[in-house]
Amino acid sequence: MKIVWVAYDTLHKILSLKVLILSLVIVLAIVSVSLAMSDYLTSAGPAWFDLFRKHISQDFLGSLYFFAQMLLTSFVVIICALVAQDVYCGEAEQIYLTGGLSKPTAFIGRILGLAIYILLLWWALFLAAGATLIFTGLGNVDLSMVEIFTKLFLNSVVISLLAWSLVGLTKVVFIGITPILVCQYWLTVNSNITAETAGNALHNAVNFILPLNTFSQFPSMESESFNMLMKYQDMSPWHGAVAMAVFAVFCLLAAMALYITNQDQ
């Protein structure tokens, strides 16, 4: 039960008024910009719209996933690094370590709270995107969308654990923010992938080394129907999932060990 209270407290710790407002603004901005990037606003007349509905919908979702990774994952990393600084370096954290709360319990509660915040953030984006799809008549929420959002959420959690352990190790919040570069590099490499570059050495290296969800070498990239959306579908080959899980556990244990042995500066 103590863990649940610590998780609840962590949500309070993360959600200052500024962060709360900024989280909502980013979610709404991602949806708005993605819709603006599609041809939805420029499609002239119902007939034209009906004809290109599928393409507009795919453009919208493609942009949505792209901006979500670029902005929302980066935002999550920054917030996590800031909270980690509070947890590893702040005197206020020491208040919680009185009254019988052990350090491992406190740490697990903190991580649980962090994961709940990230889940809420992605859930808010999912709801906003789903509502946009339905209200604009672009389509419906389908299972693949749920699957992609789940993967992006897991990506955020893993990269946040990396940020968390880096702050724990160095006590420098700026270093905790550097995993954004990992995300952006991965995004750049995989967003520029084409049927020709898929499977080349760089792509394979990035996707094997970086423990994020990876693309599979899906054969449909060879076909004419390949589009941006497909990059996000079927992008979890077994090696990616395993690497991701191992890396997540490593970061979690490292962050926990650093928390338990943490000394005040």
Binding site: M1, V6, Y8, L17, Q263
Partner: protein, 300 residues
């Protein structure tokens, strides 16, 4: 070491790289007393407190708290703590924070409700109880910090500069509260660099200077007992003078001298009932300051 010590430093030193934090401490802190750690800024008080709490590991030696050696894994079950700088999540209301802290400490809210009600009245928090911490002043947040240190009924409470941001009247109530808790058997350790404020409030003093404990002394070793003077926001009306005189207090303009400290509450009641606002309460003269400066001179 004495068997009734709640905390014992056994040759404890702490180095931050090449910079000393605390050097070669060998001292015991008596159980069931109010102990004040006295010293200038950077003298080693906070380092000593962090080592007692187990947030810092001594570079050499060890710290024994309640008979058990401290390490980074020790769970602070029966210890309350107030750090020097406080930062609570800002969207909590004061009551929500206490509810959450009770849960974190494995207590049901109704177990601490009675204590919180009393503390709310004592620290004049009624008007702030439902407000968010974001909208509370620094002083109010400090009061919240003090209350949380006691809410789980600990046997040892450690506070670093606890009176920061408190107004004089609340500061007085705070020391009364400490005395009440001490009479219930709670051991209290507070640090301060404000010697006038801490004067006569503790039973035992540890004097820190240049990262060492110069001396540990019981209060009665410090010499005589001075009175206090109260600064009011206005000139004291002559109609109050006879009443004050009965309490061995004399008034001059807006300054009231109370020679017997045990009567200060009665004097304050008279003044407050007459609509006079208290600006400050200060000791008249200072044994502690003289004592500390003499110690430093001797060391020099």
């Amino acid at each position: 070491m004495c068997a009734t010590n709640i905390v014992s430093f056994e040759g404890a030193s702490k180095w931050y790289g090449k910079k000393p934090g605390v050097l070669d401490c060998n001292v015991g802190i008596p159980q069931g007393k109010i102990t004040a750690l006295i010293g200038k800024n950077g003298a080693g008080k906070t380092t000593a407190i962090k080592m007692i709490m187990g947030f810092l590991r001594p570079t050499s030696g060890q710290i024994i708290v309640a008979g058990k050696p401290r390490n980074l894994l020790t769970v602070n079950s029966s210890i309350g703590y107030l750090p020097e700088s406080l930062r609570f999540p800002e969207l909590y209301s004061v009551s929500q924070l206490f509810e959450s802290l009770a849960g974190i400490r494995g207590l049901r809210y109704r177990e601490v409700e009675n204590f919180l009600e009393k503390a709310k009245d004592l620290f004049e928090l009624q008007a702030h109880w439902k407000k968010t911490l974001r909208s509370c002043s620094k002083g109010t947040r400090q009061k919240v910090g003090i209350i949380q240190a006691f809410m789980h009924n600990p046997q040892l409470v450690v506070m670093d500069e606890p009176t920061t941001g408190l107004d004089p009247a609340v500061r007085y109530s705070f020391f009364q509260f400490l005395r009440q808790k001490q009479s219930q058997g709670v051991s209290i350790i507070i640090s301060s660099h404000n010697l006038k404020e801490i004067e006569n409030q503790a039973d035992y003093y540890l004097f820190f200077h240049q990262n060492r404990i110069l001396k540990a002394a019981h209060a009665d070793e410090l010499g005589g007992n001075y009175g206090v003077y109260i600064l009011a926001d206005q000139e004291i009306p002559s109609s109050l003078l006879p009443e004050l005189a009965k309490l061995s207090a004399t008034a001059d303009d807006n300054r009231i001298v109370v020679t017997k400290r045990n009567l200060i509450n009665d004097v304050l009641s008279i003044l407050i009932q007459s609509g006079i606002e208290i600006k400050n309460i200060l000791p008249e003269g200072s044994n502690l300051e003289d004592y500390f400066l003499n110690l430093v001179d001797e060391r020099s």
